[in-house]
Symmetry: C2
Subunit: 100 residues, 2 copies
Protein backbone atom coordinates (compact mmCIF):
# COMPACT_ATOMS: atom_id res chain seq x y z
CA UNK A 1 0.00 0.00 0.00
CA UNK A 2 1.28 3.46 -0.80
CA UNK A 3 2.49 5.59 2.06
CA UNK A 4 0.83 8.59 0.41
CA UNK A 5 -2.36 7.20 -1.01
CA UNK A 6 -3.75 10.62 -1.89
CA UNK A 7 -0.62 12.26 -3.14
CA UNK A 8 -0.68 13.36 -6.75
CA UNK A 9 1.85 14.96 -9.07
CA UNK A 10 0.90 17.71 -11.49
CA UNK A 11 2.54 18.56 -14.77
CA UNK A 12 1.99 20.91 -17.61
CA UNK A 13 2.48 19.03 -20.87
CA UNK A 14 2.76 20.96 -24.14
CA UNK A 15 3.76 19.76 -27.55
CA UNK A 16 4.75 20.75 -31.04
CA UNK A 17 3.94 17.71 -33.14
CA UNK A 18 4.30 17.99 -36.89
CA UNK A 19 1.95 15.19 -37.97
CA UNK A 20 -1.83 15.14 -37.51
CA UNK A 21 -2.03 11.45 -36.63
CA UNK A 22 0.74 11.60 -34.05
CA UNK A 23 -0.78 14.77 -32.63
CA UNK A 24 -4.14 13.06 -32.29
CA UNK A 25 -2.49 10.08 -30.59
CA UNK A 26 -0.76 12.38 -28.11
CA UNK A 27 -3.91 14.35 -27.33
CA UNK A 28 -5.92 11.14 -26.91
CA UNK A 29 -3.31 9.79 -24.49
CA UNK A 30 -3.09 13.03 -22.54
CA UNK A 31 -6.86 13.38 -22.30
CA UNK A 32 -6.69 10.49 -19.87
CA UNK A 33 -4.47 12.52 -17.56
CA UNK A 34 -6.27 15.82 -17.17
CA UNK A 35 -7.88 18.81 -18.84
CA UNK A 36 -6.85 19.98 -22.29
CA UNK A 37 -6.49 23.63 -21.41
CA UNK A 38 -5.26 24.70 -24.85
CA UNK A 39 -5.05 22.84 -28.14
CA UNK A 40 -1.54 21.58 -27.46
CA UNK A 41 -1.41 22.03 -23.67
CA UNK A 42 -2.67 19.65 -20.99
CA UNK A 43 -2.61 19.84 -17.21
CA UNK A 44 -1.74 16.24 -16.39
CA UNK A 45 -2.04 14.46 -13.06
CA UNK A 46 -0.34 11.22 -12.09
CA UNK A 47 -0.62 9.25 -8.89
CA UNK A 48 2.94 7.97 -8.65
CA UNK A 49 6.43 8.45 -10.10
CA UNK A 50 5.98 5.13 -11.87
CA UNK A 51 2.86 6.44 -13.55
CA UNK A 52 4.82 9.49 -14.64
CA UNK A 53 7.45 7.25 -16.20
CA UNK A 54 4.70 5.38 -18.01
CA UNK A 55 3.35 8.65 -19.38
CA UNK A 56 6.81 9.70 -20.58
CA UNK A 57 7.34 6.34 -22.24
CA UNK A 58 3.95 6.45 -23.95
CA UNK A 59 4.70 9.92 -25.33
CA UNK A 60 8.14 8.77 -26.46
CA UNK A 61 6.50 5.89 -28.30
CA UNK A 62 4.04 8.21 -30.05
CA UNK A 63 6.23 11.01 -31.30
CA UNK A 64 8.81 11.19 -34.06
CA UNK A 65 11.97 12.26 -32.24
CA UNK A 66 13.29 14.20 -35.22
CA UNK A 67 10.15 16.17 -35.98
CA UNK A 68 8.33 16.59 -32.69
CA UNK A 69 8.86 17.91 -29.21
CA UNK A 70 6.97 17.41 -25.96
CA UNK A 71 7.81 19.47 -22.89
CA UNK A 72 6.72 18.50 -19.39
CA UNK A 73 6.91 21.10 -16.62
CA UNK A 74 6.38 20.14 -12.99
CA UNK A 75 3.61 22.17 -11.37
CA UNK A 76 3.36 22.65 -7.64
CA UNK A 77 0.00 22.46 -5.95
CA UNK A 78 0.16 25.96 -4.43
CA UNK A 79 0.91 27.34 -7.88
CA UNK A 80 -2.20 25.79 -9.41
CA UNK A 81 -4.13 28.66 -7.89
CA UNK A 82 -1.69 31.20 -9.34
CA UNK A 83 -2.25 30.52 -13.01
CA UNK A 84 -3.08 33.73 -14.85
CA UNK A 85 -5.60 33.34 -17.67
CA UNK A 86 -6.11 36.24 -20.07
CA UNK A 87 -9.07 36.02 -22.43
CA UNK A 88 -12.31 34.11 -22.16
CA UNK A 89 -11.72 31.36 -24.70
CA UNK A 90 -11.97 28.02 -22.89
CA UNK A 91 -11.41 24.42 -23.85
CA UNK A 92 -11.27 22.52 -20.57
CA UNK A 93 -10.36 23.57 -17.06
CA UNK A 94 -9.35 21.68 -13.95
CA UNK A 95 -11.98 21.98 -11.24
CA UNK A 96 -10.55 19.84 -8.49
CA UNK A 97 -7.28 21.36 -7.36
CA UNK A 98 -8.71 22.83 -4.21
CA UNK A 99 -9.53 19.43 -2.76
CA UNK A 100 -5.93 18.15 -2.99
CA UNK B 1 17.31 50.76 -5.54
CA UNK B 2 15.80 47.29 -5.45
CA UNK B 3 16.46 45.18 -2.41
CA UNK B 4 16.84 42.18 -4.71
CA UNK B 5 18.63 43.57 -7.73
CA UNK B 6 19.28 40.15 -9.22
CA UNK B 7 16.00 38.52 -8.46
CA UNK B 8 13.99 37.39 -11.45
CA UNK B 9 10.61 35.78 -11.89
CA UNK B 10 10.01 33.01 -14.39
CA UNK B 11 6.80 32.13 -16.16
CA UNK B 12 5.64 29.76 -18.79
CA UNK B 13 3.39 31.62 -21.21
CA UNK B 14 1.31 29.67 -23.71
CA UNK B 15 -1.46 30.85 -25.97
CA UNK B 16 -4.27 29.81 -28.25
CA UNK B 17 -4.80 32.84 -30.49
CA UNK B 18 -7.23 32.53 -33.36
CA UNK B 19 -5.92 35.32 -35.61
CA UNK B 20 -2.54 35.37 -37.38
CA UNK B 21 -1.89 39.05 -36.80
CA UNK B 22 -2.69 38.95 -33.11
CA UNK B 23 -0.63 35.77 -32.77
CA UNK B 24 2.33 37.49 -34.41
CA UNK B 25 1.93 40.47 -32.11
CA UNK B 26 1.92 38.20 -29.07
CA UNK B 27 4.96 36.23 -30.20
CA UNK B 28 6.85 39.43 -31.00
CA UNK B 29 6.07 40.82 -27.56
CA UNK B 30 7.00 37.59 -25.79
CA UNK B 31 10.25 37.22 -27.74
CA UNK B 32 11.49 40.15 -25.67
CA UNK B 33 10.97 38.13 -22.49
CA UNK B 34 12.69 34.83 -23.16
CA UNK B 35 13.07 31.83 -25.43
CA UNK B 36 10.27 30.64 -27.67
CA UNK B 37 10.47 26.99 -26.72
CA UNK B 38 7.51 25.88 -28.83
CA UNK B 39 5.46 27.72 -31.42
CA UNK B 40 2.95 28.99 -28.89
CA UNK B 41 4.99 28.58 -25.70
CA UNK B 42 7.54 30.98 -24.22
CA UNK B 43 9.65 30.82 -21.09
CA UNK B 44 9.39 34.43 -19.95
CA UNK B 45 11.54 36.23 -17.39
CA UNK B 46 10.67 39.49 -15.66
CA UNK B 47 12.72 41.47 -13.19
CA UNK B 48 9.92 42.77 -10.99
CA UNK B 49 6.25 42.30 -10.18
CA UNK B 50 5.60 45.61 -11.92
CA UNK B 51 7.22 44.27 -15.08
CA UNK B 52 4.98 41.21 -14.83
CA UNK B 53 1.93 43.46 -14.63
CA UNK B 54 3.13 45.31 -17.71
CA UNK B 55 3.48 42.02 -19.57
CA UNK B 56 -0.03 40.97 -18.58
CA UNK B 57 -1.42 44.32 -19.68
CA UNK B 58 0.39 44.19 -23.01
CA UNK B 59 -1.00 40.70 -23.70
CA UNK B 60 -4.47 41.85 -22.66
CA UNK B 61 -4.19 44.71 -25.15
CA UNK B 62 -3.15 42.37 -27.97
CA UNK B 63 -5.65 39.56 -27.72
CA UNK B 64 -9.34 39.36 -28.52
CA UNK B 65 -10.90 38.31 -25.21
CA UNK B 66 -13.68 36.36 -26.91
CA UNK B 67 -11.52 34.36 -29.31
CA UNK B 68 -8.15 33.98 -27.63
CA UNK B 69 -6.60 32.69 -24.46
CA UNK B 70 -3.21 33.22 -22.86
CA UNK B 71 -2.15 31.18 -19.83
CA UNK B 72 0.74 32.17 -17.58
CA UNK B 73 2.16 29.59 -15.18
CA UNK B 74 4.66 30.58 -12.51
CA UNK B 75 7.86 28.55 -12.73
CA UNK B 76 10.21 28.11 -9.80
CA UNK B 77 13.93 28.30 -10.32
CA UNK B 78 14.67 24.81 -8.94
CA UNK B 79 12.09 23.41 -11.35
CA UNK B 80 13.77 24.93 -14.40
CA UNK B 81 16.25 22.07 -14.21
CA UNK B 82 13.41 19.53 -14.00
CA UNK B 83 11.78 20.18 -17.34
CA UNK B 84 11.41 16.96 -19.31
CA UNK B 85 11.89 17.33 -23.05
CA UNK B 86 10.95 14.40 -25.30
CA UNK B 87 12.05 14.58 -28.92
CA UNK B 88 14.86 16.50 -30.57
CA UNK B 89 12.91 19.23 -32.33
CA UNK B 90 14.14 22.58 -31.01
CA UNK B 91 13.12 26.18 -31.51
CA UNK B 92 14.87 28.10 -28.75
CA UNK B 93 16.12 27.09 -25.33
CA UNK B 94 17.05 29.00 -22.23
CA UNK B 95 20.75 28.73 -21.47
CA UNK B 96 21.12 30.92 -18.42
CA UNK B 97 19.09 29.39 -15.61
CA UNK B 98 22.09 27.99 -13.79
CA UNK B 99 23.52 31.46 -13.12
CA UNK B 100 20.44 32.74 -11.30
Amino acid sequence: MSQHPHRRWFYLVCYDIADNERRDDASELLSGYGPRVQYSVFEATVESPVAFERLQQALTDIIDPDEDQVRIYPLRVPDLAKITIIGNRRLEERNDFWII
